[in-house]
Symmetry: C2
Subunit: 264 residues, 2 copies
């Protein structure tokens, strides 16, 4: 089995008492060299997956308490409840004596899912990935190592990337891991936080997540992920960002919302 970056950089080692030893990587950093929140979430969920009797993270809530720094970390887990259909756990990622992020997650089995479906919307209307633009021309952004791990394709390049914010805080794009790792429900839960915030197109120079909640809606098919990121309300320096992911076969696979703070 190929050694993909996402799997290697989110390995965790059990120690005593439902606790896992791991490391925050410098290979998933956002602007400013700060480890990306999705990376931290993936470490927490990797640990919880080893503790919970259900396979798929279905509803995940993360509260970000402090910025992380690359280096050793510990994830403490707790089984909160194991029910017939869902199992809920909690994870706390610590570095030294500081808690960095706390996560509540309810897992279920999306492979066994049934019940009614009625969708009042569909995937974004994007040209095929090969007909889209790679705004980074196959290179990463210097100092933003996550941009080397996650590739994107857009119909048109957003204004902020070329230096002129277009005042359109909505982005539709294809995305996938650059090394070809296919998505799964674990990766989707982190992927919703892997892209630059769309408030950059309003001229923002950064954004710190306070809370992120993810709903994984279905197991994804292999291939590119069609994503829609949007912010409607910036108010008093706080903004939400909504994120939708559709798989290559046109199924809705994840939805998220986060509340984030603009730099003072």
């Amino acid at each position: 089995m190929r050694d993909y970056e996402f799997d290697r950089d989110h390995a965790v080692t059990p120690t005593a008492d439902h606790t896992y030893r791991t490391a925050v990587s410098d290979r998933w950093t956002a602007i400013g060299g700060v480890p990306n929140g999705g990376h931290l979430l993936a470490l927490c969920l990797r640990s919880l997956s080893a503790e919970l009797p259900q396979p798929d993270p279905v509803a995940v809530s993360a509260h970000f308490l402090r910025p992380a720094t690359p280096g050793p970390a510990v994830v403490e887990t707790e089984l909160v409840r194991s029910g017939r259909r869902f199992a809920t756990g909690e994870a706390r990622l610590r570095q030294g004596d500081k808690e960095i992020v706390r996560v509540l997650a309810s897992y279920g089995d999306l492979g066994a899912a049934g019940g009614p479906s009625e969708l009042l919307g569909g995937p974004p209307e994007l040209p095929a990935p090969e007909d889209c633009v790679d705004p980074l021309n196959g290179r990463g952004i210097p100092g933003v190592s996550i941009s080397e791990r996650v590739g994107i394709r857009l119909a048109t390049v957003p204004g902020w990337i070329t230096g002129t914010p277009g005042k359109d805080p909505r982005m539709e794009l294809w995305a996938r891991f650059t090394d070809g790792r296919e998505p799964d429900t674990w990766a989707l839960a982190a992927f919703v936080d892997f892209l630059p915030p769309v408030v950059f197109d309003l001229g923002a120079t950064g954004s710190s997540t306070i809370e992120l909640s993810v709903h994984v809606r279905r197991r994804p098919a292999p291939g590119w992920l069609a994503c829609v990121a949007s912010t409607r309300f910036v108010q008093d320096g706080l903004h939400e960002e909504d994120f939708e992911i559709w798989d290559s076969t046109g199924n809705l696979v994840a939805q998220s919302r986060q509340l984030a703070l603009l730099p003072a």
Copy 2:
């Protein structure tokens, strides 16, 4: 000071060790006589408010583990982190030896809020409350006691209320406490879960919340609250519901999303 129902039914009494004694009420029940999730959340937040050094619940995540039953309950709290701008806490509502709901909440001071604002949307376009319809004609729905506590006004009555689901899972309406209690940030966090799910208009007969996250965006002005509830994606029996609340002066005051499960 007048003794409003919301305050009386969400009183909590400190006992030892950051724990509060309280009761799940039979006065805030949804269809089936099940205590409403917003009611449980309000009990948790009332307890956390007594523990955290910041005044307003800004980002709140709740995972619902089991249905509650009217009767005694205990809320255990934990101060997770107290920072300069936000303080984060956790609350666990228990009945007997069963944990019913677990909540993570980050509090801040929305009275001191500043920073840029840019809104790409506004409140719903509703006729004035006095020109709207009260679908319940001033009465509650038998067996649904929360309908006696929360009054609503709509431009037109949704099909499901008159027995013919209109296949339109979106509702714009005015809402407020029937006894005249004015909204505050604590009440808003619960209010997002106080109304019947809009999937009723798709013919659903119930809906159980798995996870609810609320972002309180501003302190509300007195008066009616303009609300927008919508579901876009029912898939395999799971659906999200988004909820927005605007105050009587036209400010966005709360936003929420929940993931819920239709009856099998």
